[in-house]
Every structure is written in C-alpha cells, then in structure tokens.
C-alpha cells in the first residue's frame, strides 16, 4: 500500500468542501471572515461562492434606521437577537453619519432604495439632482459618491430614480429619470453619466405618484405609475417595458386613495401592496410575469381599523412580511405578518438610539455581492467604531 502515513491535520481540504461549507454561512459572517487570512479571503471573494451561496443560504434581511440630530443624520444597524421572538437590537454606535450639504435636513425619508446589499439615499426631498444621491455599502462601511452630470442636460431635476445591477457586466447602475425628458444612467466604475433613450412608454409616468421608489428584482428596475401600470427597465438592455397590475377587486385611482399603492422588494421579487381601504392589506407578488396573491388581511388585531399600514419588505424566506403601522393610541410600530399562521406580531426593539422612530426603518436583503468591493467614482470609508464590527 502506498499511503501508509496517516493524513496530516495540516493538509488542506479540497476546495469543493470549503466552498460548500462557506455557502452555508450568512453574509454577515462571511464579511467578517474575509479578514481571517488571505486564503479565506480568496475563497469568499470567488464568484463561484456567490453562485452556490444564493441557492443555499436563506438570506436574512437587514434593518437599518436613520436618526437625526440635524444637521447630520446617523444610520444605525440592527441585529436580530432571536428571529422567532422578533427581538431586534440596535447597535449603539451608528455605522454612518451623513452631514447635510445644504446645512439642514428638512425631512426624514432619506433612504430611497437598495440593490444587492447596497443602499442609496438622497440629500434632498422631492425632485433630485444626481449629485444629491449617494450610495452606502453598510457591510464594508463604504460610501460612494456619484459623479456630477451638469453638462449633459438643461433640466436639472429628476422625479424617478433607482439602483440596479447588470449581471451581464457585473456592474451596479444608478438610473435617474425625468418623465418625457431624459433618462440617465451611471455605471459604477465609470466616471460619468450616460443618456438612455426614452420611448413612448415613459411619457405615461405620472407625476402624481407620491412614492417614487424603485424596486430592483429579476434584473430590472420597476416603478409604479399612476394609471395602474408598472414601468420596467431592463438593466442589461436598458430598455423600458410595461407591466399590468394585478386585477384587484376594486381599483380606485391612486389620486383618491388614503393609502397609496406601493411596490416593495420581497426578497428579490416585486411585491405590489394594495390597500383598498384603511385597515385592509393585500400583497401580490410578481412571479414570471404573472401576479399571485401573497397574503391579505383586514382588521387584524392588534391593529385597529384605522391603522395605516406600510409594508417594508420581506422578513424571511417563509414569506413573512415586515410592516410598520401607526394606531391612534401609539406611534409607529413594526409588525411581522406571517401568511402561514395568519398571525400578526409586534417586533420589539431593544437599546434604541435616542430620537429614534420606527417610522424610518428600512429593510433590505443583504447580498454577498456587496462584500466583494465595488468600483466606484469615489469611495470613502464611513465611521467605524470599536463596538460595531460589521453589520
């Protein structure tokens, strides 16, 4: 027999074994493990891991909160203590502090959207200029600024925006859109913006839509428009398309509704939230160009009939939904609704930062892509503190 000697402990394991084990770990752990050694770092950065990781690990979404004091905003990450008991712990030190360029923040809704673990925010409200947008990578504590675009166009403000990812070139793309006028894209890694040709579809973009947030899913950015349609922009081809909304029981024009319809990111799928009237909720999800009802409820305790519910996103891969609701008695609270058990339960947050408000909570699915480092026009490190190792 040739192999008389026993296997030595120091011998490395075959890479397929290592990949398999790493693919079973949450993104948070992998982000931390990159620092262990060069070998670990190479494994974690390997694109193959991204392919198998997606299939293996049910990624838990991350929740962050922006908190004033003006003139700067601090963003706090939260950690889930026990998923079953729905207990969140906010970190005591913020992972990012943004100073207002205008000297004062006049509003609270800074976080505009997310894509593959990156979050983007705006410095101003309503119509935006491209330089108002900035992109944050919470897991690497990096902050990317976008190049200015003044020279390209005369109208300076955009109503719609979105952050997407082109998986054919492995690049993030920020899109800004002014209906009937101009659409521009900035590809991360380049130093400028580029115009995207509009087509007649975009003339239907309705300025009355109060919630202009895009949802990135299935390789496309989606925006809800006023007359009951969704506009889709394919990140690869940069072409616009149109999707019908699901046939809900009674469709009221968005201008007259108390609770506007919204799109939400349901773990990589487009969700459409429809409130026929206050106290009711229907969530539809777009699967392969067809809509399917995800869940619906009406007058569910502990919510009262007058509660205004805003769906924030997916809580886990079982289809549970995270939402915030304000009742007449208490301010906004976070709840998780589980379609399987038809139960609505409150989320508890311990160690709240000062001046904190549930109303600002933002949830997004984290992704291995954000760990790998992103080429950007300008990269800055955000504040890193001792007690906050990584989100």
């Amino acid at each position: 027999m040739k192999h008389k000697a026993k296997l030595r402990f120091e011998d490395s394991l075959p890479s397929e074994i290592i990949f398999n084990i790493l693919s079973r770990m949450p993104v948070k752990s992998l982000a931390r493990f990159r620092s262990v050694s060069k070998l670990w770092c190479d494994y974690i950065d390997d694109p193959y891991l991204k392919i198998i990781h997606d299939q293996q690990y049910p990624e838990e979404p991350t929740i962050i909160f922006p908190v004033p004091p003006y003139p700067s905003i601090r963003f706090y990450a939260t950690e889930l203590m026990k998923r079953d008991a729905r207990v969140l712990e906010a970190k005591t030190i913020p992972f990012l502090e943004v100073n207002s360029k205008q000297g004062l923040f006049l509003h609270r809704h800074f976080i505009l959207g997310s894509c593959n673990g990156l979050v983007y925010l705006s410095q101003s409200y309503g119509s935006l200029r491209p330089e108002d947008l900035s992109v944050v990578n919470p897991v690497r504590k990096e902050y990317y600024e976008l190049p200015p675009a003044d020279h390209l166009f005369d109208q300076k403000h955009f109503e719609l925006h979105g952050l997407g990812f082109d998986d054919s070139t492995n690049a993030f793309k920020m899109v800004v859109l002014s209906p009937s006028v101009r659409a521009m894209v900035h590809v991360f890694g380049t130093r400028s913006w580029r115009v995207i040709p509009l087509n007649p579809i975009t003339t239907r973009l309705d300025r009355f839509n109060t919630d202009n947030k895009a949802v990135f899913a299935c390789g496309c950015l989606h925006w809800l428009i006023g007359d009951g349609k969704i506009i889709r922009l394919d990140m690869r081809t940069e072409e616009f398309g149109l999707i019908d909304l699901p046939k809900t029981q009674r469709h009221v024009s968005v201008r007259y509704k108390m609770v506007p319809d919204r799109l939400v990111d349901l773990h990589g799928e487009v969700g459409y939230v429809y409130c026929r009237f206050v106290g009711s909720l229907e969530v539809w999800v777009l699967k392969e160009r067809e809509w399917a009802i995800h869940c619906r409820f009406y007058n569910k305790p502990p919510l009262t009939v007058s509660a205004i519910v805003t769906v924030l996103g997916s809580w886990n891969k079982d289809g549970d939904i995270l939402m915030k609701a304000a009742t007449s008695v208490v301010g906004p609270q976070l709840f998780v609704y589980s379609p399987k058990s038809d139960l609505l339960k409150e989320v508890e947050l311990i160690t709240k930062p000062v001046d904190f408000d549930f109303a600002d909570a933002f949830i997004y699915p984290s992704s291995l892509l954000s760990i790998h480092g992103i080429k950007a026009y300008s990269i800055k490190e955000t504040e890193v503190s001792k007690s906050v190792f990584l989100i």
Binding site: L7, E10, L13, I17, L39, W40
Partner: protein, 155 residues
C-alpha cells in the same frame, strides 16, 4: 434460504468489511463501482481508515434500516442519531469529511457540512481566534497574520 447479497470493502489498513449490498450502495461512489462491475472481489478504498469506514457504514446502515415513514418517532430517532454522530472530535470530523466526500453520500455530506458551518458562523472575533487556533486544520495550513485579530485590536 437465500442470503442477501453482500459486498466486501477493503480499506488501506488491509481490513475487510462485509456489508449488505443495500447498505453499500448508499455511497454513490460504491454504487457506480458496482454498476461498472468492479466489485467482483472486493472494493478497494485505499484512503479511508477502519475507524472512519466503520462509522460511515454505521450511518448508512442506520439510514437504510429506518423505515422511510413519516412517523414522528422514526424521524426523531434518526435526528438524534445524526446529532450524536457528529459529536466527534475534530480529527474524526476531518477524516470523516474527506471520506464522505470521496464516497459521495449526499445525506451524510449535508449533515457534516452543516455541522461545521454551524460551528463557525456567528462567532465573535475572540471566539473565532480561539476556534481557529484549535482547528487550524479546518481551512488551511497557510500561516498568516491574523488580520481579524489585529483589526479588532487596532480600532
């Protein structure tokens, strides 16, 4: 009276294990060897020790013998067997993972991978440093500066 067909497995220690065919085909590698007609005398497994091979056979036997019903008892029993099975020391786990990877036993492979993943994930930097010291074999013999350790010290 007919005997159920048995297969002989010979490992590098020179020891021979006789197992029922139904147990022996749990590992896909062996199943393919039998299909290809290599199993006339005995199947050689030169890179697996007796200790590990007997553990693997024990696992295959248990899973083959447990009826594939949805009974809670059977499932719970199997679960507790699996749980105890992976309570081995690091060295055994290391050898097990290589053996099971070679033999290609899907269920057992998933079990071991998950066990190791659970051992590693979610540790604080201090615990991780401790764990890495103890389990230097797990991922590399690559000696490097422990960036993790120093990073947490620096800030």
């Amino acid at each position: 009276m007919s005997f159920s067909k048995t297969i002989m497995l010979r490992n590098y220690d020179g020891e021979t294990f006789v197992v029922d065919e139904v147990v022996a085909v749990e590992p896909q590698t062996i199943e393919h060897m039998i299909e290809d007609g290599c199993a006339n005398t005995s199947i050689p497994l030169p890179n697996i020790t007796s200790k590990i091979l007997s553990k693997v056979i024990e696992h295959c036997k248990k899973h083959v013998e447990t009826p594939n019903s949805n009974e809670k008892d059977a499932k719970a029993d199997l679960k507790s067997f699996d749980f105890d099975f992976v309570k081995a020391d690091q060295g055994t786990l290391f050898d097990l993972i290589l053996a099971v990877n070679y033999l290609n036993i899907k269920g057992l492979l998933d079990l071991i991978y998950q066990t190791i993943a659970d051992m590693i994930k979610g540790k604080t930097p201090e615990e991780e440093e401790e764990m890495r010291r103890v389990n230097a074999w797990v991922f590399s013999c690559f000696v490097g500066v422990t960036c993790l350790y120093f990073k947490s010290k620096k800030i």
